[in-house]
Amino acid sequence: MSTTALTQFSIPLLMGNSLNAWSEALVGFNLLGLPLGLVILAAIPLVFIALYSLTYGVYGERKISAFMQDRLGPMEVGKWGLLQTIADILKLIQKEDILPTSADRFLFVIGPGILFVGSFMAYAVLPFSPAFIGASLNVGLYYAIGIVAIEVVGILAAGWGSNNKWSLYGAVRSVAQIVSYEIPASLALLCGAMMAGTLDMQQINLLQSGSYGFAHFYLFHSPIAWLPFLIYFIASLAEVNRAPFDIPEAESELVAGYFTEYSGMKFAVIFLAEYGSMFMVSSIISVVFLGGWNSPLPNLGSFALNTWTNGPVWGAFWLIMKGFFFIFVQMWLRWTLPRLRVDQLMYLCWKVLTPFAFVSFVLTAIWEIYVP
């Protein structure tokens, strides 16, 4: 295929540039004085999370685990079981909403809500593409780190409110774990922020674009950039309670941890929040270290792969694909590794990850100051 043919082929994809104008028009759309356009705009990521989390996340998890375990996974509902998750949602909606008699009503109900809000609010600063970001904050990264911590409150409320000993154990474990792992995770992200010199998520992405594709990513920015990358990945596993750090919901120890008493739609909301957080941390790691919506393909002479594969629609494609990749790694780990013990988890956090995070923080700072 000639170069011109390739260019022509990629033109329709570049037309997504008009998305920007489209979203601006939507913001200006008011009905009877109500900012309806803004609401619609905010609903898009929500719909995306709901679709992704419940359909592809759960379905993907089940299929991937099945293939790793010599099984077929869901096969009955729809072709290859594609509609399995929808059937599950329908079942969860139909279920009776059970409130244990001895539960703290208020905390029990509000818990999953806080959890979901905490997980969803971070999406606001996620730059899905050059043309689309919910809220372009100049402290976007800081906000993302902070807002995830709200989940702890939700977990504690759910665990305490359930009035179940297993839930309480799960909640206490989870608070200890998430609060501890916030430190190496934040330090690792700060390394990324130092490399960029900004906390603006969109800006961090922009700084990583260039005609050499992946070579501009912060993972390859300095010789020690892989260290904060690795630290953040491990810490993020702990932050979203994924194996091998899933001790707050360790089913073989704590039955189901903090959501032991939950059923029906409340359970589904907790589930949704979990998968939402998974994609969130995966996206943050791709934004900070792997260029976010930037194409990893380099320009090779007249084959301007990078130029062709960049743009608003391509951007969303790359970010989501990078996110999916990390989710795949998370699932891969979950179905391979046993679970750590509580004290081993804390040891890993305080005696391994945190010192190394400090080391990488200092080394990155030195690199940024002395190496042009």
Partner: protein
């Protein structure tokens, strides 16, 4: 009610009455928590209930509460004929039904003092060892689940499925076989059975390596099991432990060798004992390793059985089965090495009836579980789960 034991000080006192933990004084400052682990808990391997007294995540005391699966096995035995007890023995340790039948059949044969055909012995050993592998696969797989590794479990069950298929082919049932009868077998093995078993052995050898790569050499798995729940050999012997549990503590004790029965003296196999290089002797990892080695030893035994098996010409699997079983007055205790340890049957006959006067099963799981209180003291909840998993109880045999 007599107060036996009191734990805690000051405003908090928790007392054990008979076998129940009761909080005698309640105060807002309570620090120890009574935690009922089971009978509906994912990792108590059935309907075991552990009443734990916990201080944070640390167990100060754990008392096993049994009886949720009690089926009056011994009383039932007193009311049915000798051959009708065989299906009941299947339900003792339902993961290794062949071994239980084998032990029971041997006990009654000892009481009757009858000779059984050699081919029957070989087939018995063959199916028992197949069942031993199947049982250890469940033990290892569920141990993985207890520690949070789900995938090895399904790998184990995939291979176990083949064994269950083979045994189903021979006996007609997947788990509760009723295959080994007093004095013989229900049927001879099918025509191509030995060939298929050999195929399975060849298939399974590399799979054990795969399983060990996935689970036993996993860093996290080692961290979770190494040095956890250590049982010194003297204490283990005093508790009456047997099977992989006792061998895990470094005692070279295997009834197939130490009190040989059937054709085991003719067979060449090693008694698996941990060497203390990879694990602390007596810890959870040692017990796991013993099971892993035993599977390979069982494969060896199976191969030898196939090689030495007398031909099926003119063979009738029921030829030695007595028409009417009415043993002379007397009593007998016979024991066999089950996957979980020593399964013994004590049978007493009055010489008149076709039913035993007394039939007592000495179950290994029950005895092994009795050390729970010692093992669990001062452990964390995740370690308690690891310890229960390493004991590898089957509640069918614990409660009977």
């Amino acid at each position: 009610m007599q107060e036996l034991d009191t734990v805690g000080q000051g405003s908090v006192r928790v007392t054990r009455k008979s076998d129940k933990l009761v909080i005698v004084e309640k105060d807002l400052a309570t620090e120890q928590m009574v935690l009922a682990m089971g009978p509906q808990h994912p990792s108590t391997h059935g309907v075991l209930k552990l009443e734990c007294l916990t201080d944070g995540e640390v167990i100060t005391e754990a008392v096993p509460c049994l009886g949720y699966l009690h089926r009056c096995f011994e009383k039932c035995c007193e009311n049915v004929d000798y051959p009708a007890i065989v299906p009941y023995t299947d339900r003792l340790d339902y993961l290794s039904a062949m071994n239980s039948e084998f032990a029971y059949a041997m006990a009654v044969e000892k009481l009757l003092d009858i000779e059984i055909p050699r081919r029957v012995e070989f087939i018995r050993v063959l199916v028992s060892e197949l069942n031993r592998i199947a049982s250890h696969l469940v033990a290892i797989g569920t141990y993985g689940i207890d520690l949070g590794a789900f995938t090895p479990f399904l790998f184990c069950f995939r291979d176990r499925e083949i064994i269950l298929g083979l045994l189903e082919w021979a006996s007609g049932a997947r788990m509760l076989y009723n295959y080994i009868w007093i004095g013989g077998l229900a049927y001879d093995v099918p025509a191509d059975f030995l060939k298929r078993v050999r195929e399975f052995v060849n298939y399974f050898r590399p799979k054990t390596v795969e399983l060990n790569n996935l689970l036993t050499s996993n860093e996290i798995f080692l961290k979770r099991t190494h040095g956890i729940g250590i049982m010194p050999p003297e204490v283990a012997i005093n508790y009456g432990w047997s099977g992989p549990m006792l061998r895990g503590s470094g005692v070279k004790w295997d009834l197939r060798r130490n009190d040989p029965y059937s054709i085991y003296p003719e067979l060449d196999f090693k008694v698996a004992v941990p060497d203390g290089k990879n694990s602390v002797i007596g810890d959870c990892l040692s017990r796991h390793l013993v099971r892993a080695i035993e599977m390979e030893e069982s494969l060896k035994i199976i191969e030898q059985c196939i090689d030495k098996m007398p031909s099926s010409e003119g063979f009738n699997s029921r030829s030695a089965i007595p028409k009417r079983i009415r043993p002379k007055a007397g009593e007998v205790y016979s024991r066999a090495e089950n996957p979980r340890g020593e399964l013994g049957f004590y049978i007493e006959s009055d010489g008149k009836s076709t039913k035993p006067v007394r039939c007592k099963a000495r179950s290994s799981c029950f005895v092994n579980l009795s050390a729970m209180k010692d093992l669990s003291k001062g452990q964390l909840i995740p370690d308690l789960v690891a310890i229960i998993g390493s004991i590898d109880i089957v509640l069918g045999e614990v409660d009977r």
